[in-house]
Symmetry: C3
Subunit: 151 residues, 3 copies
């Protein structure tokens, strides 16, 4: 375990509209507002999306199993924004349900909002965090450099 | 995408008890404390509830598909509170599980808490947001009027 | 319904690493940083965990139904930290998915992180809350003592 202590800074209440691409819009927001570290929650619906629903086998680096859908699903999600190579990178886990079918995984790549997705982005202030690629593990874990003592 | 920038204001740590109606209690809280804009997270269990688990077809206005249960389910949820016609309106997406059965959707109307639901309500300060009915789309999207610049 | 009004205090951005025990690490964090009341959100993956996926029957005290897994699942969760008998107690509801299988329940006891779990812990400031065992109900509901008026 590693951690950094900070405070909540700016909070963005975001409405992403029918037809928009969810992750693309979040990246646009992060770039426009120069958000470097944040956690967010969301609720809404998606017409199309792709989720990684676990690794084929429980070993690293993981070989992802994909699930995609192209009819409207209700969603809820928790995610974060950190810089990787100077650019905002979104990490988002979501549950997606339609009738009896529910999937849960890591939402990546293109998606299309159905009606609306509401997102609440909490900027993390007073920490310095970056994602740095780890080829061996097969992902880019977030690392911290404490830049201020808030106590 | 539209968004408003604010800060977290008051935070309400709420215990909703066995037999209570979840959404009704949240509306009571919002009215009593004059909460106009908020996001919340919850965890607990429900004995009864109804969820919209997607539209019948992927078109707007949507024809909702309902799923109801009347035995105890574990829940987690993410929601928000905004005023619509001057009254607090709850939008809540939740996952509900019991054994092998999991549903995910938009929790609406009457429900009954089983044992307890714990809710954490974060007031959104410095923004002006309202839900305004859009007949064509078939729902009331949240709209913003920026009332202060917090930077 | 009972509730307490406070503010967000310190925020901990936490990376829990491959092989770590999720709840144990959160307890360590709470003890080290003297966190008495907090809410948290998490996303990541677990190699092993056990969830209570509801009561056998919808009555109190509940007889828990357990679901355990020992292959990697994607997770998202919402939880809280309050003191019980002077020690931090974790209450965590999570959804866990692998391919077509999704479970949702109360994550308890030992678990093992797969790759990473990212946790965002929001300290609740200005409230006094404790869990106190209620033998009849079969759990320890959180109770409040308002210690300051923040308005």
């Amino acid at each position: 375990m590693e951690y950094a202590k900070g405070r909540i800074g700016r909070v963005f209440t975001v409405r992403i509209d029918h037809g928009d691409d969810l992750i693309l819009e979040l990246i646009k927001l992060a770039e426009l507002e120069r958000i470097e570290s944040a956690v967010f929650m969301l609720l809404g619906a998606l017409k199309e999306a792709k989720l990684v629903t676990g690794p084929k086998e429980s070993k690293t680096p993981p070989e992802p199993v994909w699930f995609g859908f192209d009819d409207a699903h209700e969603v809820l999600g928790i995610g974060d924004i950190f810089l990787k190579d100077g650019k905002p990178k979104i990490h988002l886990h979501a549950g997606a349900g339609r009738g009896d079918n529910v999937k849960l995984g890591c939402l990546r790549g293109e998606s299309e909002v159905f009606m609306v997705v509401e997102v609440f982005v909490f900027e993390l202030e007073g920490i310095s965090a970056r994602r740095i690629e780890d080829q061996e593990q097969g992902f880019a874990p977030v690392g911290f450099e404490q830049i201020s003592n808030l106590e």
